[in-house]
Subunit: 198 residues, 2 copies
Amino acid sequence: MTDRKNSQGQTGGLRERKRRETLRRITEAGLKLFSTKGFEATTLDAIAAEAGISRRTFFHYFKSKDDILLSMQTGLGDSLTAALAGKAPGQRPLPALRAAVFELVAAYAPDDLLAIDRLMLSSQAVQSRKQATYLQDEALIFAALCEHWPEENPATLRLAALLCVGITRVAMEAWRRDGNRRPLADYVQDYFEALAGL
Amino acid sequence: MTDRKNSQGQTGGLRERKRRETLRRITEAGLKLFSTKGFEATTLDAIAAEAGISRRTFFHYFKSKDDILLSMQTGLGDSLTAALAGKAPGQRPLPALRAAVFELVAAYAPDDLLAIDRLMLSSQAVQSRKQATYLQDEALIFAALCEHWPEENPATLRLAALLCVGITRVAMEAWRRDGNRRPLADYVQDYFEALAGL
DNA sequence: TCCTATAATTGCACTCAGTGCAATTTAATA
DNA sequence: TATTAAATTGCACTGAGTGCAATTATAGGA
């Protein structure tokens, strides 16, 4: 009836459009205040005021203050399983994962993510929860591996998931530590090669 | 002067003895209440009352409610670096670590730790912080490895630390999942062997 | 256009974790 | 015993997060 563009789930009605807009305003307000005042020193009242909503409404969009930052995570588990789903021919698990990681890492915008990352360091709780997501990523990838290689030893697949997430993690650490002068893919390469020297 | 047995830092005065006793009472009270009422439902007032102290005093012993549980962690990083310090002859890093892990895992009391572990699952925040400690363990072990094998490629040592903590972690998961009918060392063995099949 | 079901926003009152401060008690020691 | 330092406590406060009920805005059909 009304002329809403519901085709790709993109616009879909005034209600949803407003909701997305409010969500955007909250995260924007949060990011702005976190980076100026610091994470801990920023109160929810301040965020709500900056976003033009009430304090109570904030909790209809996020379950906690932490979640503003956490919601901006890349979602390594989802990305990798997706990249893995398309192409699992006759390859071994680890090389397939390796390829998927490189695919991901190729398209990576340094600056935005780095800023978020730095903010996350300022809160113990946020940092912990961020690091805990690595373990969830592992679980997701392990499940995907089990589907693609059902006859493989589960312990092997478990280790493959562990290594792939772990290598990505330490590569990003090294990359950030060096002030990203070399591309992230180089660090990933380094660690995958170091695997042979064990 | 006074007859305090300060030799091994064991007793050392009324003050310290009382302090240790209070600490013990708090953790005991916490554990008791957590396991009956649940972690979230247990208030600090209840813990303080049960331990016979004031609410305010609690914070002279723990920085947060979480820390009661977190303080009972094994400290994989410390244990492993200690076990590693004694014996690093001409071995390669990973085999040396492997031996150290087996040494640790041999002396492991199932029941107590398992109860703590189950309690930690009931709080998102505690669980996250627990998982985050694995990364700190990695860092500790990596530092120790760098000292013992200064001429080795750091990336290799980084991966060794990652693997050793990771394998211990997934082994404990599998062990717990199976209701620990087999000894923990068996699971560690499984994963170390699966490493070859990658 | 009007009407109704449903979703979003809000205010209010509440619980609980955690902190700062200042007073008081208790142990250590000269 | 007198002095010093640590431990305990109460009080008042901030801020996160929740439950509830009232209000407002949107959706979609009559």
